[in-house]
Symmetry: C2
Subunit: 192 residues, 2 copies
């Protein structure tokens, strides 16, 4: 019991009290439930790996996006983290594939381009039949630096490189918009 509590405490956001409560819940639950949890924990490490094409976390290689016949394999959306894919999938309007960098360029944290999955993206673009690369890194300093670096690396391939729009979020008010976002919204205005 003490060992289980100790192990649970290592999880983020779980303190002594929570770990104890979780441990007692597991103790009281059925043998099947406990076995399912133990199996799921073991499997996540054993079975999940990175997709050899896009570096997304997956249990089949290539991942569901890269192996899909209904998705546009010529449209690649570059994101920082696997979780960003969920945010883009939620729009239900993107039908291309992804490339996960697993981070962004951040010299202050010692993360340079060579620590990210950039060379595999460049190879993929050079080899594959790709029409457009969408740079969907975050609109932060690191994400912008990464997008700028990538556009420099990919420019010589001559294909279409786009950056997602920065601007005022839908449902928001101009009055409460910070000046840099307002500036980007003005710069990024589109003809109707």
């Amino acid at each position: 019991m003490a060992r289980l509590i100790e192990e649970l405490k290592k999880l983020p956001g779980i303190g002594s009290k929570s770990a104890q409560r979780l441990a007692f819940h597991i103790l009281r639950s059925s043998d099947d439930d406990a076995e399912a949890l133990a199996g799921a924990v073991r499997d996540v490490k054993a079975k999940l790996r990175l997709c050899s094409v896009c570096n997304n976390i997956t249990d089949v290689d290539p991942c569901v996006y890269c192996s899909s016949a209904t998705r546009n394999q010529r449209l690649v959306c570059v994101v920082e983290e696997p979780t960003n894919i969920a945010a883009i999938e939620k729009t239900k309007h993107f039908n291309g594939v992804y490339h996960v960098l697993h981070g962004s360029i951040s010299p202050l944290n010692g993360v340079g381009p060579e620590q990210l999955r950039i060379s595999s993206l460049v190879r993929r673009v050079e080899n594959g039949n790709i029409d457009e690369v969408i740079l969907a890194t975050n609109p932060t300093v690191e994400g912008e630096a990464t997008a700028t670096y990538l556009s420099g690396q990919l420019r010589r391939t001559g294909l279409k490189i786009t950056r997602i729009a920065m601007g005022i979020p839908v449902g928001s008010d101009i009055e409460y918009t910070d000046e840099i976002t307002m500036l980007k919204a003005m710069e990024g205005r589109r003809e109707l």
Copy 2:
């Protein structure tokens, strides 16, 4: 004293307690300060009016933007409220002039196009030498409806009509972006 407290209570966000505190502060302040406050309250109604060109609140007519020789009078930015001008001015990169609608189309609240300063905008566009109209209404249902209506009204003039960018605010994270904003950010992507 009771009359002053009653009058102060009419201000938004000022209750009995606050009104009393303000009244006592005025009582204790110098004659000059009290007179300055009284004069400022009187003047705001007597001297401020709407600019005859852009409907901005101003004490000189035409307003500082419309009468400026250094601003581009051929670039008009349409906003819902006079306060929105401050948000755009803060970017320090917009050098055109404004047109204030004093609201947005909202059928649920009984506000139709005829309640807004739209006819004066159409006249201004038809008469004046204008190159571009930027529709900077809010990215809300009402603001979008107003932008769509305006672009329909102005399209026949044949000039450039643009809409400010909707997208992810600068410094924000894709993971925390709602799906409609994410969709707009993808749709509004720009070539690098």
